[in-house]
């Protein structure tokens, strides 16, 4: 462990990324994510890396994808409007299987909205924002320290699955400062860049999957002369219009992540052993929810909490398992209702799932969620 520091969520995000090996950042400033870029601009050159500010968010996405192909671990960061602009190339990364982490520090939308205020309004967009079928990994930390860990994890997952990973922060945690003690460098697990397991002469195919369904396209400049495209392609990497190839391709994109779903579904259960009512929460809101659940317990309500760190792929199993024994689930969200739909679906009618939505630029106070729990219990929701 290192010294105790007062650190902001956004700074922790940058620090985590660098700790995980990120050496390239490209992006475009936008509130409330800007401190991530600013921190990177300062740190990266000092570790021999590169920070580049691009002409817009699309350029920011393109430049990091190019750098990733050339062998660097890469990060870009943005918020609402910029996240929308990046969607096309997020799909490119999914299709061409290029490791990249995209941080979205959520703010109030739609559109320019309320740039400085917190929200959780991009949860569904993180899953479905780009066109066509694609899988998605999204992580949402609830503390500054976990933001560091989540950044490390996001970089590792991007590299391991060769896929875009969304670090879905919110303004609450992004702009929060709290004391953190970061792990020492030697205690941080780093997933290295995958390498070709064959030579050209051995019949290397850049997009042939390994056992984990993930391919190992060679970094540019290493002598493999590979072709990378956003068209559907076969194992050689060249475009193919074959239905069989297309089917296998799209299937594999999803399965490589679903195979590992249990392992990458991170969540906490608090007071769930005997819980009758559960709050399902994520991101900065979970801090308030935790407080509320404690207060409910203090009042004798058998309340528990499931805190989702992994938002996508969605924790279906966790919810389903718990729904069997619960009398109700409350989903407080700083939006008009988003992850609630998933919880409801996963619960499959086993117990009522109720939304507690707040979308007025302010965060919940514990009392509101407590009331929500009581109302759920009392059948008033």
């Amino acid at each position: 462990m290192t010294d105790m520091k007062l650190m902001q969520g956004n700074e922790a995000c940058a620090a985590g990324a660098v700790a995980a090996g990120v050496r390239f950042f490209g992006g475009y400033p936008i509130t409330p994510s800007t401190e991530i870029a600013e921190t990177m601009a300062k740190i990266l050159p000092s570790v021999g890396g590169c920070f580049v500010q691009m002409e817009d968010e699309i350029g920011g996405m393109g430049v990091v994808l190019g750098a990733s192909l050339a062998g660097k671990k890469v990060l870009t960061a943005t918020s609402g409007p910029g996240f929308s602009l990046k969607q096309e190339l997020i799909g490119y990364a999914a299709c061409a299987e290029i490791p990249v982490v995209i941080v979205n520090v959520q703010r109030v939308g739609p559109s320019t909205g309320q740039p400085t205020s917190p929200a959780q309004g991009d949860v569904m967009q993180a899953r479905w924002g780009t066109h066509g079928d694609h899988p998605m990994i999204a992580l949402s930390p609830w503390t500054v320290r976990e933001t560091f860990d989540a950044a490390v994890m996001a970089v590792n997952y991007a590299e391991r699955f060769r896929t875009p990973v969304i670090l879905l922060m919110d303004e609450i945690v992004g702009h929060l400062r709290e004391n953190v003690q970061l792990p020492a460098a030697e205690n941080i697990d780093i997933y290295p860049r995958r390498c070709p397991s064959k030579t050209r002469l051995q019949g290397y195919e850049p997009y042939a999957p390994e056992a984990d369904l993930v391919p190992n396209p060679a970094d540019f400049g290493t002598g493999y002369r590979i072709h990378v495209t956003g068209l559907v392609h076969d194992y050689t990497g060249f475009p193919s219009g074959s239905p069989a190839v297309t089917e296998e391709f799209i299937d594999r994109l999803h399965k490589k992540i679903l195979l590992a779903q249990d392992e990458i579904t991170h969540y906490d259960e608090f007071f769930m052993d005997d819980a009758e009512y559960a709050v399902v929460s994520y991101g900065g809101v979970a801090r308030t929810a935790y407080e509320a659940v404690r207060q409910a317990r203090a009042k004798g309500i058998k309340a528990g909490m499931i805190r989702l760190m992994t938002i996508w792929p969605f924790a279906d199993k966790v919810i389903r398992r718990n729904a069997e024994s619960l009398k109700g689930i409350l989903v407080p969200e700083l939006n008009y209702g988003q992850l609630k739909y998933e919880v409801e679906r996963a619960a499959g009618g086993k117990c009522p799932v109720k939304l507690l939505a707040k979308y007025n630029t302010e965060i919940f106070v514990p009392g509101e969620i407590l009331e929500g729990i009581e109302a759920l219990k009392g059948g008033r929701l």
Partner: protein, 274 residues
């Protein structure tokens, strides 16, 4: 038969290419590999990056590390590659739509940064891939599927634009002037900084048919008859310039290249400077 040494730069198993009969893209692609050969670029340290369009399909036929990006985005991807590994030679192949329509902003910003890329624009003055819509380089009054009454949108002079934006090297050639085109590209490769070469190529299918020039050879003869070498152009009276266009090197200006400039930042940062 003597060996055509440039043929080794093609992915033979992917030829013939998908381009239509008579399409000028094949000529420009050959000029690029010949220029690469002239300059002796190490093949495994040379990356070809393209956008989306007929022209951008070229990357798939060239035996280097090749990248077929999204429409308009070749330059940011190429910038990332170059910044991540400055020892790589990065050549961008793009179309008039790819480069100056959807990719216009990246184009001028690449030039502004003066990052060491060689950008070759295959200018067929139309959107070939999608079947003949007007591009920002479609000449005035010419027809396109989205300009059925003739285009009224003034075209860009991409060379002017590149220069105003800060490119270090700017040149133009045509598919008729094959050797000249090769030279223009080769010089661009030598330039340390943002080099831009517009190659005028014929698209008999999407442009020619709509504009009463369905024969590719006729289109090339038009290039022969209307392209004027820069030196001659500069001495030409204005009234004779109508319908003609200059080719050759328009601009050379060596400025600090971007990856070199950034290496200064690294030095400063590592000295703890602030």
């Amino acid at each position: 038969m003597k060996e055509r040494t440039y043929e080794k730069y093609f992915r033979q198993n992917r030829l013939p290419h998908i381009w239509c009969p008579g399409c000028g893209n094949g000529i420009a692609m050959k000029a690029i590999v010949q220029a690469v050969e002239m300059r002796g670029l190490p093949r495994d340290k040379t990356i070809i990056v393209s956008g989306i369009g007929c022209s951008s399909r070229a990357s798939g036929y060239m035996d280097f590390d090749t990248l077929h990006t999204a429409h308009g985005r070749a330059i940011p991807f190429a910038t990332g590659i170059k910044l991540a590994n400055p020892e790589l030679n990065v050549i961008v192949i793009t179309g008039d739509g790819d480069c100056t329509a959807i990719g216009g902003n990246h184009f001028i910003h690449g030039a502004r940064r003066n990052i060491d890329l060689t950008v070759v624009l295959f200018n067929n003055t139309i959107y070939g891939m999608t079947g003949g819509q007007a591009s920002p380089m479609t000449p005035l009054h010419k027809k396109a599927t989205t300009a059925p009454y003739g285009s009224v949108d003034r075209p860009f002079d991409a060379c002017n634009l590149a220069q105003a934006a800060g490119a270090s090297y700017v040149a133009r050639s045509t598919a008729f002037h094959v050797q000249h085109m090769t030279d223009m590209i080769a010089e661009g490769i030598s330039c340390r900084g943002f080099a831009f070469i517009e190659t005028v190529v014929q698209c008999p299918t999407a442009y020619g048919r709509k504009n009463k020039m369905p024969d590719p050879a006729e289109m090339m003869k038009w290039m022969r008859d209307n392209a004027v070498m820069k030196t001659a152009w500069d001495r030409m009276p204005e009234e004779k310039k109508a319908d003609k266009f200059p080719i050759g090197v328009f601009h050379r200006h060596q400025a600090v290249e971007y990856t070199e400039a950034y290496s200064e930042v690294i030095t400063l940062a590592q000295e703890g400077g602030k």
